[in-house]
């Protein structure tokens, strides 16, 4: 009995230490500039993927850039609409849980991320709808799926939800 009370006393005497936690968000904003802004506007208004064309080497750059990374010349204002279908060039399967660093929300996980070779030969990195690892392979035909709600669009690349698998042969057979 005496032992128990002395133990309790010792616990009471143990000093309490306070930890001060600070977790308020720091806010910032950045401007997209004219070129990326046009890319954002086309995605929101017309559900189009656009790149800009170099006047010298005629290459199309995505995301758009004010200066051609190859020729180092002013890109001017020559826009090209890109096809929304392509094939998976390379892919990876992300298993590591990731959080949005800006808002602390957990991103859906796991998901496949792929480099997509659009039909005119421009590369685009995006996520795929297909989450079954066994059905993934390089070369599958994919198509962009856009956010349907106009108000929700306005985040550039994120206006495309993912690229879904399309089986063109299967589609043709259905039509015949």
């Amino acid at each position: 009995m005496a032992k128990a009370s002395s133990k309790k006393k010792a616990e009471e005497k143990k000093p309490e230490y306070i930890h001060v936690t600070f977790n308020r968000p720091r806010q910032y904003s950045w401007s997209t500039g004219r070129y990326l802004g046009h890319f954002y506007a086309e995605a929101k208004e017309n559900k189009r993927i656009v790149g800009n064309r170099c006047p010298k080497c005629k290459d199309i750059w995505l995301p758009p850039t004010p200066v051609c990374p190859k020729c180092k010349v002013d890109m001017g204002w020559d826009w090209a609409e890109l096809p929304q279908t392509g094939e998976v060039y390379q892919y990876t399967y992300l298993v590591m849980p990731l959080w949005d660093p800006h808002y602390g929300e957990k991103w859906a996980n796991p998901y496949p991320s792929a480099i997509i070779l659009l039909d005119n030969g421009v590369f685009y990195r995006h996520r795929l709808e297909e989450t079954d690892k066994d059905k993934l392979r390089a070369g599958i035909r994919v198509q962009a799926v856009w956010k349907e709600d106009y108000e929700e669009r306005g985040h550039g690349m994120a206006d495309i939800l993912y690229f879904k698998t399309i089986d063109e042969q299967e589609a043709k057979r259905c039509l015949q």
Binding site: P15, V20, G37, H38, D100, Y103
Partner: protein, 156 residues
């Protein structure tokens, strides 16, 4: 996704508003913890006295800043004090604990020899005066934080 974008009127330029969390935690230490626990449990503001300089520090600190003596003597100070100086911040910022306009004051509590930085409330910024008497207002639910004192209000 809850990021916020905004198209500038008449231009192909978008503003992207973001925010980033940089959480950090630190230990208040032996002296700081005791100061915060006194606020939480007994609604008392305490400081430490330097035996050599005979100066009372509020908030409490463990070492005298001038003579480096160990400060062991705890003293309770009043929750009323005199406003030494103040500033008014009109810009809202998410890292601030309250909404703008935010009035910060340095208050010398009765019995203390140093200034104590805190918020001022229930006051019109126009009517602030250096030398006015203020009193601490405590929160009902306290959690051992410096914001257990809600703000200092003017004594009528």
């Amino acid at each position: 996704m809850s990021t916020v974008t905004e198209k500038l009127e008449g231009m192909d330029v978008w503003l992207y508003h973001g925010q980033i969390y940089i959480p950090n935690t630190y230990s208040a230490g032996a002296v700081g913890s005791k100061f915060l626990i006194e606020l939480r449990d007994r609604k008392r503001i305490v400081g430490t006295r330097c035996p050599t300089c005979n100066r009372v520090y509020v908030p409490a600190r463990s070492i005298c800043k001038d003579c480096y003596s160990q400060l062991d003597e705890w003293v309770e100070v009043s929750n009323k004090g005199t406003l030494l100086t103040y500033t008014v911040c009109n810009q809202q910022n998410a890292i601030q604990p309250v909404e703008a306009p935010i009035v910060y004051g340095i208050i010398q509590l009765d019995g203390a020899d140093t200034g104590f930085v805190h918020l001022l409330g229930e006051v019109d910024p126009e009517q602030l005066k250096v030398g006015m008497r203020v009193q601490a207002v405590f929160k009902k639910e306290r959690e051992a934080s410096i914001l257990d004192i809600k703000y200092f209000k003017p004594l009528v």
